[in-house]
Amino acid sequence: MSTAAPTETKPAPPPVETIKVKVDGREIAVPKTMPDPMSGKPVATTMIQACNLARVDVPHYCYHPKLPVAGNCRMCLVEFGTPAMGPDRKPVLNPDGTPKIAKSPRPAIACATPISPGMEIYTTTPGVKQMREGVLEFLLINHPLDCPICDQAGECKLQEYSVEYGQTTSRFVEAKVHKPKQVDLGPRIVLDDERCILCTRCIRFTRDIAGDDALGIVNRGSYNTLAAYPGKAFDNNYTLNTVDLCPVGALTSKDFRFQMRVWFLKETKSVCTSCATGCNIVIGAREDKVYRYEPRENDAVNSSWMCDSGRLNYKWIGAANRITRLLRQNPGAGSEPITWTTAAREIADRLLAARPGSVAIIGSARQTNEELFLLARVARQVSAVTDSVPRTQTGDKLLVSADRNPNSNGARLTGIAPAVLGSNLRAIADGIAKGTIKTLVVFGEDVTKHGIGAELLAKLDTLVACDILSNPTTDRAHYVLPGCAHAEKRGSFTNGKGRVQRFMKAVEPRGDARPEWEFLHELVRNLNGQDGFTTIEGLFNLMAREVPAFQGLTWAALGDTGVTITLPA
């Protein structure tokens, strides 16, 4: 990945020059310029940015801090005044010595009006209140008011502002203009044109951020309609961001359509696992079922966006072929359920009994730093050959990384994987074929797809496989350990650029499943008698002390948006 919104390169040096303005009577110093959301070049600070800095809420629809300014919704109208200038080009002073403010006769849209020194912004005057009521009444003229069947209800700016700033009744008695509904805008998007308030956020995002000029407004006046250009499919990999951007329910996700009302969703801060970018996400879950991912703002990683492929890659969490039972299997002779304690003891006994050098461990770059760290300890204890599995596909310019493992760097830093992932796999396969490797521990990978076929697995004395979904490797394992999806546990990933980001637990694990690090902690204790930390905080801090690259990090210091470390060359 390169360029665009996620600016890992140093942000523009803070402008030294500040301007003093008053927002609702409170004086605040704001930078004279702010970086343009698109080019990053400094442009004059606008009134809405000043209001944000003053923590004064200005309602807005078309304005979005990450998009070019359009100024078409008129919701952010405010009144303002500037210091009056006398004929001598000097400020006119009040009797008490303060500068006399000449109030502008007309309001201005806060999103597109630059500030000037001494400016006073008024957001609570009767005039502003009346303007907001007027704009809302106008926006609602043709709005169908079908909130009961609208997926946006609950997170709809039209609802929120109507309650906060609107009036109780509409004076509109004429027939509403009816526009197309349930328009199939793209493979993942449904459009309801009646609900659209024509803010053009989706158009600007698609054109300026995603770089796919697919959307536009057609027809005139009351018949203004959002549409994809004829012959152009609205099917780029970032279309679902327009659903997030849409302040009303016009653009809705086909995947989330009529699945669950948003107010039931418990929101958990997490990290996307679909590639090495590690987009920050919010998991929306209800009663142990994940309903959606939404991007979470992190300017160091993903700005406010995420790709559609990552966003929709959550259904496997509740898949039918989840491994839910902890089993001891005798390939060909059935299986029996055992307890985690038994599994940890028996596996430890087998590992200790194994001849040094006859053990191989294949971790996964989809595991967390903490799990890989514990797995590396296991490997060190039994002098095992270790590796992980590479996943490389083509990336794109915006967010998708070519490396589709969320934690390749974690696997390298903890020592599970060599610098080039997968370079030991051939050696392991050969070792099994020659009979020098008799024990294989696999975490989160189906090795039959990576050069260690079923016939090789059959030669092993012990095969331990921990995975989330059942696959040919787990089918042949002597010990099948049900694993947890990232949404079911806590942990941290190190993304492609070395940003260590933590994620939280959104839902309960299925069946017997138990966070891998808990089991690995028990296994390590059974192997070398060392008692470690049984909390993820303590474990992370221990890892930070022992792994050089993580030196100085603590779980708490990771915060919600993570910390960038220096990757060894």
């Binding site: 169908p144 009961p148 069947i149 027939a175 009816h178 526009k179 509904k181 009529f258 699945q259």
Partner: protein, 187 residues
């Protein structure tokens, strides 16, 4: 405040007026019950109380006069329900096929009548006038499962509600009049 206790006179201290008064009251009731109007109680399973209008009995789903299930699965009642008695399964992307311009309807709608406290919040919050607390106050079943009423049962018990506004029909007609909004014919 201190209330001064009345001094009892001689007769009162003999308990005589109290005993006579007590006898008068009890005899009055006894005679009325045995010889005149009979008891005031009702013999429940045979005689049933006729509930007054506005009584808050069990909540049931209703259909409108055109036979359309009024519920659109907005799940506000599920949200507002204090004892969490209501459980709605949203329809998923398919919505409500055949319901015309009403895009959405419940795939399943369950009320656990064992949990329901007949508070009426669901009726109050419903934006579609699709659920009403009706007249039933004595619900019985032989198992817990039987007391969870599903959509079919709730609709059958709820009956028809005369919808004076019919907003969805009105919307469809308005759109058809403008001739730009193709409305699939209602099933």
């Amino acid at each position: 405040m201190i209330v001064k206790r009345e001094k009892l006179n001689f007769w009162e201290r003999l308990y005589a007026p109290a005993v006579l008064g007590g006898f008068k009251v009890t005899w009055h009731h006894f005679a009325r019950t045995v010889f005149r109007s009979g008891p005031v109680t009702m013999e429940y399973p045979e005689q049933k109380w006729v509930v007054p209008p506005g009584y808050r009995g069990a909540p049931y789903l209703v259909k409108d006069q055109a036979g359309r299930t009024k519920c659109v699965s907005c799940q506000l009642c599920e949200f507002v329900c204090p004892p969490k008695a209501i459980r709605i399964t949203p329809p998923g992307a398919s919505g409500a096929p055949g319901a015309g311009n009403v895009e959405k309807g419940p795939a399943e709608f369950e009320i656990n009548m064992l949990r329901c406290i007949f508070c009426g919040f669901c009726q109050e919050v419903c934006p579609e006038e699709a659920i009403f607390l009706q007249q039933d106050y004595s619900l019985t079943g032989t198992s817990r499962a039987e007391m969870i009423y599903n959509k079919e049962k709730l609709l059958a018990l709820g009956g028809t509600h005369q919808d004076k506004i019919q907003k969805w029909k009105h919307k469809a007609e308005e759109a058809q009049a403008q001739d730009v909004f193709p409305v699939p014919p209602a099933a």
